[in-house]
């Protein structure tokens, strides 16, 4: 288990982490999710010992490691840009941790071969990192981190530098790997889809603070505040509340509290259809998400007047937290290292 208590980290006036405490369950895959500058990477680097917190402590498996350098924390760390040792072969890269531990060569070779088999790079032992694709380099980096049999595996946006299709493939692969290896894993990501798909638990961070911790479904279904709701999926603002676009109900006729709106655009996205609406009374624009079937039953066209109300869950504005810009998926394609 990793226990982080009361950790703060400032860079000048900027609070990267503001009194953060979190327990990370052993054997699970935990995602630190947040926008750029939320402190998620800093938190991971504090756990790794690559950053020293101003205050607070870090405990890994009952050992206080706050003042222990990264070399002696028993961790494996994977960087967004692979941090491959460019002048070494794949074999020497993966065996590096064992070599500096002065293990016998036969043992290192056997371990390297085994790990390269696990990560699907068997036969690549004598290649150099420059001869590998991005996905292969990252798998090599994972094998390198796993070679020293770390107590915790820390992944800093491991798929952030990869193409979308490679990213999806590696995600599924990492999930399977985690089921095999079962090492306590912490993953930093700004991509809510990645966090939902991979993690057993998600820690949502914003502006150096933890907003909410929970299983992916818990966070999606019962967000603690507008920020979490907005960050975990697209939202639409209707009146005083936030609602998921797929929870909006459209009716051709006035219906109780439903608000009047004009259809400005209908976008067909395969199975789903996005209906863009201009609310009456200058209440702004929102987008509803319908299935094709629902749209066909509604029989609406661009320019029509409809009535819209929230169905299903709706988040009434109780909290102080600010929400990000609504009606827009929050995941940017690229994000500089936070």
């Amino acid at each position: 288990m990793i226990a982080v208590s009361g950790v703060s980290k400032h860079y000048g006036d900027f609070a990267a982490l503001d009194d953060v405490s979190i327990d990370i369950q052993p054997g699970a895959l935990t995602a630190l999710l947040g926008p750029s500058g939320s402190g998620k990477s800093t938190l991971l680097r504090v756990i790794a010992g690559l950053e020293t917190p101003d205050t607070g402590s870090v405990v890994i498996e009952d050992r206080d490691v706050t003042n222990v350098p990264p070399q002696r924390r028993d961790i494996g760390f994977v960087f967004q840009h692979y941090a491959a040792f460019k002048h070494m072969t794949v074999r020497d890269n993966v065996g590096f941790g064992l070599k500096v531990r002065k293990r016998p060569k036969a043992e290192i070779d056997a371990k390297v071969d085994e790990l390269l088999g696990i990560v699907g790079l068997a036969g690549y032992q004598e290649r150099y990192p420059s001869q590998l694709s991005g996905g292969q380099r990252q798998r090599m980096a994972l094998a390198r981190a796993l070679a020293v049999e770390p107590k915790v595996l820390l992944l800093d946006e491991p798929f952030g530098a990869l193409d979308a299709n490679v990213r999806a493939e590696l995600r599924a692969w990492l999930r399977r790997l985690h089921e095999e290896v079962h090492v306590t894993t912490v993953l930093v990501t700004h991509d809510q889809e990645e966090a939902m798909e991979l993690a057993d638990r998600i820690v949502v961070l914003n502006k150096g603070r933890i907003e909410q911790v929970g299983a992916p479904r818990e966070l999606y279904d019962a967000p603690a505040n507008e920020f979490v709701m907005g960050f975990l999926g697209p939202v639409a603002r209707l009146g005083d509340g936030l609602v998921r676009p797929h929870d909006l109900v459209l009716r051709p006729d006035p219906d109780g509290t439903a608000q009047e709106a004009q259809v400005t655009r209908i976008v067909h996205l395969g199975f789903e259809v996005r209906v863009e609406l201009e609310l009456a009374g200058d209440d702004g624009a929102i987008a509803a998400q319908l299935t094709r079937h629902e749209l066909e039953q509604l029989e609406i066209a661009e320019g029509d007047i409809v009535f819209v109300r929230p169905g299903g869950r709706r988040f009434e504005r109780p909290a102080v937290a600010e929400a990000p810009a609504p009606a827009e998926a929050p995941a940017p394609a690229v994000e500089p290292a936070a």
Binding site: P70, Q71, G76, F85
Partner: protein, 268 residues
């Protein structure tokens, strides 16, 4: 940028013409004049006791100054790029100082510091150490003028490679020394090599600073550049040319040696 064929051609002509005018022609003339009296005369001229002594002294000074500067240069570059200490700008300024001031001034400064009436001179003389008009002073002067080369070459490379590989090594359990030895040094070796070549070239060719502190005692404190100047001012032109050619040969040998070493390192 794309240029018309005429534009490209004129750029090439200009670049090559400039090089020829400033480098190739003067060096060619020196070599031509060197061998004008015949190979035997050249060999005689560079095997006189004074020339042999100058040759070895030049090598000796370079052999002390270049390794010291290489180690200092790597350490200084690491401090400049990898640490967050205060007063970094001051260190940077001091390292660049030899580029900014004339070598003669550097020689004079050493003279004022270590000379018979200088701040440290009398004390060191009491201890039996003579710096000025002796080899230690010449080594010091050479170290000073060569100071920036390795730092200047290594620091940008360090910045370029970033510190992620070093952090990765640390998380894998490597000590600072192991990380330096196995990760940082191999990554910066091109920069180091280039810095060493430049330092060596400057060390064997240095005239101004060394000239002030050498005292020019023939057979003792005369390096090859000083010998060239000495022979030239004594109207021994062919002797001066021969000594110059010898200098050029040392420089080329250094360049060649580093290239071969690099090739070996790369094919490993």
């Amino acid at each position: 940028m794309t240029a018309s064929p005429v534009g490209r051609l004129s750029i090439r002509v200009f670049a090559l013409g400039y090089l020829a005018l400033l480098l190739a022609i003067p060096i060619g003339v020196v070599l031509y004049r060197t061998f004008e009296p015949g190979v035997g005369a050249v060999i005689d001229s560079i095997t006189t006791p004074a020339a042999v002594s100058a040759f070895w002294l030049t090598i000796e000074i370079a052999a002390i100054a270049v390794p010291l500067n290489t180690i200092f240069g790597i350490v200084a570059a690491l401090v400049l790029v990898r640490t967050r200490i205060r007063g970094k700008w001051l260190l940077q300024a001091v390292i660049d100082l030899p580029f900014a001031i004339s070598p003669v001034v550097i020689g004079l400064a050493l003279f004022l510091l270590f000379g018979r009436t200088g701040w440290l001179g009398p004390t060191l003389t009491d201890w039996g150490i003579q710096v000025i008009f002796s080899v230690p002073g010449m080594v010091l002067a050479t170290i000073f003028v060569c100071l920036p080369f390795v730092v200047r070459e290594v620091a940008p490379v360090l910045r370029e490679i970033g510190d992620e590989q070093e952090q990765a090594a640390a998380t894998l359990g490597a000590s600072r020394w192991q990380t330096f030895r196995r990760i940082t040094l191999p990554a910066i070796r091109w920069g180091v090599a280039y810095g060493v070549v430049l330092s060596t070239a400057r060390a064997i060719g240095e005239f101004g600073a060394v000239s002030v502190v050498s005292g020019k005692i023939s057979g003792e404190t005369v390096t090859l550049p000083l010998l060239v100047e000495n022979r030239y001012s004594n109207f021994d032109l062919s002797g001066a040319y021969a000594a110059s050619a010898l200098l050029a040969v040392i420089a080329l040998a250094t360049l060649l040696a580093m290239t071969v070493l690099q090739r070996k390192g790369d094919s490993r």
